[in-house]
C-alpha cells in the first residue's frame, strides 16, 4: 500500500470525517458564511459566535464533502474555539503553509502537532483545496460583507 495514502487517510482524519465535531446549526451565531467548491460540488456552512472580546465563543459547521474537507472542518472548529481573530488568522496562515508542505513557523508546537495529520496533503496537491475550504469560509464569516467562498472558482472541468 502506498505510504502517502496511509498518511493521508490515517485514523485521525477518518475519525473526524465520520464523526465530525461541532457539526450542526448554531442558533446564536453572530457570523455565518457558505463555502462552495465548484470542482466537486462540496458545500459547507460555518457559523460562529464571537464574544465581547472578539474571541470565538462557539463555532459549528454543516455541509457535505469528502473525508478531507469534513475532517479539516471538524479539526478547525476544535482549534478555533476560544481564539481571538488574530490568533485564528495566525493558525490559518500556518495551516495553509503546512498543507502545501512548507514551513509553518507561526504555529505553536501544540498546534503544529495537532495539525500534523494534515501535512500528508502536501503529497496530494489536487486535494489541498478540499482542506482549505473550511478555513477560507471561516475567514469570510468573520469578515463582514463576504459570505460566499468559491474555492477553486477558476477551475473548470471537462466532460
Amino acid at each position: 500500500m502506498d505510504q502517502s495514502l496511509r498518511e493521508l487517510y490515517q485514523e485521525v482524519i477518518l475519525d473526524h470525517s465520520r464523526h465530525p465535531r461541532h457539526f450542526g446549526a448554531l442558533d446564536n451565531a453572530t457570523h455565518k458564511a457558505d463555502g462552495h467548491n465548484p470542482l466537486c460540488g462540496d458545500r459547507i456552512t460555518i457559523m460562529l459566535a464571537l464574544d465581547a472580546d472578539g474571541r470565538v465563543a462557539d463555532i459549528k459547521f454543516q455541509g457535505k464533502g469528502c473525508a478531507i474537507s469534513q475532517a479539516s472542518a471538524s479539526m478547525m472548529t476544535e482549534m478555533l474555539a476560544g481564539r481571538t481573530q488574530a490568533e485564528a488568522q495566525k493558525l490559518m496562515d500556518g495551516f495553509l503553509h503546512l498543507v502545501k508542505g512548507e514551513d509553518a513557523p507561526g504555529l505553536s508546537p501544540d498546534d503544529r502537532e495537532y495539525l500534523d495529520v494534515m501535512s500528508g496533503l502536501s503529497e496530494f496537491p489536487m486535494r489541498v483545496k478540499c482542506a482549505t475550504l473550511a478555513w477560507h469560509t471561516f475567514k469570510n464569516a468573520v469578515e463582514e460583507g463576504k459570505n460566499t467562498v468559491d474555492e477553486g472558482a477558476t477551475g473548470g472541468s471537462a466532460a
Partner: protein
C-alpha cells in the same frame, strides 16, 4: 475456406494499444490504467505523427497567401473538412464548420441560429442529462431573450422516454437540444426517433455528439438531423478543434458569430459583407495543425471495424458490471439498454474524490465530480459520482485493476 484459414479478431486491442505511446508509461510506479477517455481520449501515434509531419513540411496560414506552402496548408485544411464530412456522412463538405471544440459548436448554433429568431416565451427542449455545454448556451437565451428551457426527465435507469420528449415539444418549441450519448450515464438517445418527432412539429434538432461521435457510427443524412456538434480531443484527436455539422439551409440563414479575418467578403469603412458558409463562421486563423490531427484521428477510426470496436467496448462494460456485482456497497447510476461504455457509480461512505485519489495511487485514472452535469446529479440525488469511461484501447485487465483498486479504497475508507 481451407482448414488453415486463420480467424483474425475483427478488432485487435493489443495491436491498437501499441498505437498509443502514453499507455506504456507508469504512474506512481504502476502501469497506467486510463479510464477517463470520456473527459479526454489519448492520441495514437498516427495523429501525433500527422500533425508533426504537417508542421514540418506543409505548414503556413490558410486561405491567405499565394505562395506554395499556403496552398499546401489550405489543401490539408480543406481535406480535413472532407474527412469530417465523410466521418459524419454529410452530403456536402461546406456543411462542416471547424470550431475550437464541441462547446463552441453549440454556442455557434445558439448565437448564430437561435438567438436572432427567438422570442420571449419560446421554448428550447433539452434533457436533464445534458452536459453544461449543452445547457449554458441555452441559459444565455433564457437570460437575454426570455427563452424558456423545457426539461425532459430520464427514467430511473437513465434511459430517455421518446414519448416524454415528444410531449415536451410544443407550438412554442424552437429547438430540441439533446445529447447523443450521456457523458455520465452512457445512455445513447434515440436520435432518429427524436428527429422524426421534432420534424413532424417543424422543430429542428441539435445533437451534442461529443461522446456519441466517439462510440457510435454517425450518418447525419440518415438521421436527418439539423445540427451535430463534436469535439476532437475525445475522439483520439487533438484539443483546440471541433466541428459543427449543420444543414446547408441553416448555415445559409445563420448570422456570423465571431467577426474577423477569413469570414468576410468585403469590408469598407461603412459596410461589411460576409463570406459564404462555412468560412463565414471561421473568423481568424483556424486551428490548422489540429485540423490535420482531427482528420488523422477520424481516418484512424474509420480504418478500424467500428462495429467490432463497439462490441469490444460493450464487452468491457458488461465485464465491469459483472465484476462490480459483488460490491454491494457500490451503486451504479445509469443502466439504460444499449448504453455506451461509461460507468458512473457512488460508493457508500466514500466521497468520489477520496475514492479517485486512492484509485489514482494505484495507477487507475477515473473522473470524480459532477461531470459538468449538475442537473443530472440533482436528478439522482448525488453531489458527485466516480466515473470510469472506456476507450477502444482499454482491456479486461484494466477492469481488473479498477476492481482491485476499488477493493483497496474500501479497505482504507470503508
Amino acid at each position: 475456406m481451407t482448414a488453415a484459414a486463420k480467424i483474425t479478431p475483427a478488432f485487435d486491442v493489443e495491436k491498437a494499444r501499441a498505437d498509443f505511446p502514453i499507455l506504456s508509461r507508469q504512474v506512481y510506479g504502476k502501469p497506467l490504467v486510463y479510464l477517463d477517455s470520456g473527459a479526454s481520449a489519448q492520441k495514437p501515434r498516427q495523429v501525433l505523427d500527422a500533425m508533426t509531419r504537417f508542421a514540418e513540411t506543409d505548414y503556413a496560414n490558410v486561405h491567405r497567401g499565394v505562395h506554395y506552402l499556403s496552398a499546401a496548408a489550405t489543401d490539408a485544411y480543406e481535406a480535413a473538412r472532407r474527412t469530417v464530412q465523410k466521418f459524419l456522412h454529410a452530403a456536402r463538405e461546406d456543411e462542416i464548420v471547424f470550431t475550437k471544440g464541441g462547446t463552441e459548436a453549440i454556442n455557434l448554433v445558439s448565437y448564430g441560429f437561435l438567438a436572432p429568431r427567438i422570442q420571449p416565451g419560446d421554448e428550447i427542449v433539452l434533457s436533464v442529462m445534458e452536459h453544461h455545454s449543452n445547457i449554458v448556451p441555452w441559459h444565455f437565451l433564457r437570460e437575454r431573450h426570455g427563452a424558456v428551457l423545457k426539461w425532459v426527465d430520464v427514467r430511473d435507469d437513465g434511459s430517455l422516454d421518446i414519448e416524454a420528449v415528444d410531449a415536451a415539444i410544443g407550438s412554442k418549441t424552437k429547438l430540441v437540444a439533446i445529447t447523443h450519448m450521456s457523458n455520465v450515464l452512457g445512455t445513447v438517445t434515440p436520435l432518429q426517433q427524436i428527429v422524426a418527432r421534432a420534424h413532424a412539429k417543424g422543430v429542428p434538432v441539435l445533437a451534442d455528439g461529443c461522446q456519441g461521435a466517439v462510440h457510435e457510427i454517425i450518418d447525419v443524412q440518415a438521421l436527418d438531423i439539423d445540427f451535430y456538434a463534436l469535439t476532437g480531443h475525445k475522439i483520439y484527436g487533438p484539443t483546440g478543434i471541433g466541428a459543427l455539422y449543420a444543414k446547408r439551409v441553416h448555415l445559409k440563414a445563420m448570422r456570423p458569430f465571431n467577426g474577423g479575418g477569413e469570414m468576410i467578403r468585403e469590408v469598407s469603412k461603412d459596410i461589411v459583407t460576409y463570406a459564404e458558409p462555412p468560412a463565414r463562421f471561421e473568423a481568424g486563423t483556424p486551428p490548422i495543425i489540429e485540423s490535420v490531427g482531427l482528420a488523422a484521428a477520424m481516418d484512424y477510426l474509420m480504418a478500424l471495424d467500428r462495429a467490432a470496436v463497439k462490441a469490444h467496448e460493450h464487452d468491457l462494460l458488461t465485464y465491469t458490471r459483472e465484476r462490480l456485482r459483488d460490491f454491494n456497497w457500490l451503486r451504479v447510476i445509469g443502466d439504460a439498454p444499449g448504453k455506451g461504455a461509461i460507468i458512473s457509480f457512488e460508493a457508500e461512505g466514500m466521497h468520489a474524490h477520496d475514492l479517485a485519489t486512492i484509485l489514482d495511487r494505484e495507477g487507475v485514472a477515473v473522473r470524480a465530480g459532477h461531470h459538468c452535469a449538475q442537473p443530472l446529479m440533482e436528478r439522482f440525488g448525488v453531489a458527485s459520482t466516480s466515473r470510469a469511461s472506456f476507450g477502444l484501447y482499454n482491456t479486461r485487465a484494466d477492469v481488473d485493476a479498477l476492481v482491485a483498486s476499488l477493493a483497496k479504497a474500501r479497505e482504507i475508507l470503508g
